[in-house]
Symmetry: C2
Subunit: 324 residues, 2 copies
Amino acid sequence: MVWFESLQHFISEADQVLIVSHVNPDGDAVSSTLAAGYLLKRWGKQVTMVNESPVPKKFFILEGTKEIVSTDQISGRFRHVIALDCADRERMGNIRQLLAEDAFIINIDHHATNERFGDVNIVVPDAAATVEILFDWVEQAGVSLDQRLASYLYTGLLTDTGGFRYSNTTPKVLRIAAQLVDTGIESHKIADAVLETVTIEQLQLLQKALSSLRRSDDGLVAWMSLSRKDTDAFLQSHEDLDGIVNYARNILGVDVGILFRETEDGTVKVSLRSREFVDVGKVAKAFGGGGHARAAGCTFHGSLKEAEEKMLPRLRLELECEKR
Amino acid sequence: MVWFESLQHFISEADQVLIVSHVNPDGDAVSSTLAAGYLLKRWGKQVTMVNESPVPKKFFILEGTKEIVSTDQISGRFRHVIALDCADRERMGNIRQLLAEDAFIINIDHHATNERFGDVNIVVPDAAATVEILFDWVEQAGVSLDQRLASYLYTGLLTDTGGFRYSNTTPKVLRIAAQLVDTGIESHKIADAVLETVTIEQLQLLQKALSSLRRSDDGLVAWMSLSRKDTDAFLQSHEDLDGIVNYARNILGVDVGILFRETEDGTVKVSLRSREFVDVGKVAKAFGGGGHARAAGCTFHGSLKEAEEKMLPRLRLELECEKR
């Protein structure tokens, strides 16, 4: 691997390294930060792990999460920086005041859309997660896998593949997972903490959404809505909403699941998920939004009812056209 | 493997084989039936696959599910029988009239509690699923893995490990999964169909249960209840309830999750799940029920309110004693 040498060179030059991942960190962001930090410390480096946003509680099962500090807790300027799982510079959050003028950034990421903003860019779109690239690094470097390192790498793989359920669950991912579990980590406890555990507020929000659940007569579209009152009472993080719209999409026979949500600024945010037929990215775009064929979103001005009256006929048309 | 030879001998003797799995089949039951049937047909055998209960719709993604017939759709008596994933004879359901007097039963199962009711018993408690034993058979027999066979074996592994989340997710399981995905099966579509897909009735039942969700002041116990009216309206299968009690257990900080459910016969069925501290098997036993430390159940005579008034103080006591 060509990139391996530039990485080793970077490490040999560095004494103090700043490790940063993206704002609102998910499992891969937290895990790749911890894994890279742990590796560098084993090599005798001084490491500062930073994130603009707090680490979600469900990841506290991982050792050392409290060592990831917020941007305003540190000072000084770093000359050696590793950016993990960040598709562009902005995803790192507000870290400008932490960078020396001649800061050298290694950008390690698996997003195909990565803007190659680093001085060295290790971008591997075939990797299911950034931790998969770190695993390859560990192997190349001949580092022995211990349980602590394995638990980090396992968490990133698990979360970025939706618990080995998404199409990025390649044979390679499963073989790496097997090697990680070989170390004796209690992988079921990680799965329980990071995939199964919910907050009571998430369940309360889900209950509100489910109580509004409706389905079209042909069973192809299911939708739910959350009022301003519901979200004011229960919404804590935007990740919580992702989970909810999937409940509508996952109904047997449904192709498109929708969540309509009233926001503070008098608009209605619409999340769309589809299984197979409708390209919801195209639909969202028609209303000024964006996204992919299977997951997209847009925003309407007006009430929940008005948003439904715009979106539902448009989806009906898509389905009619698909059925021709 | 010692058992391999008896299996091959059985196959060489048999022309017509009856394949049966347990009543209310889960993913491993359906998949092991289909996999064994497919293997035997490839070897030129006449195969009848039977199950007392209908195959749940979510498994229709697997080719050939419609060839699994119900007990009353077939006649004749079989001399060669393979029982899959059945811990005891009763689990096979009412198949007595299908067995010849000198019927020879091969009992293939992974439950440690298996009663060894067969003429040959291939019971492997270390296997995560019955399909794991079938995979070993396929390897030993030198059978090439095609996508159809791989999709069956993958489904059984996936469902019996809770989507690779339970503690039976061994490195071996993950390595087998990798080999199965190597064949090019769309494993994410299987995961979507068998793990993610829900019926609208399941969601309606979930909504009813969530609307009753309460949590103890210390956050360690969470409980929900379903009235007779709720279950009459929405309950279709008992599997649906398993899913629901886990929502209570999965709340951050909760150790014991409970579902109280009014039944037709004027009793209240109680499902208990725990994470770490309370042995709910012991608690259930104190009320005449049973189960394991992490999953158990019992039945009370009386109303939902009376059941709560008996169960909650008992759990409080357990937690106080654990905290000493």
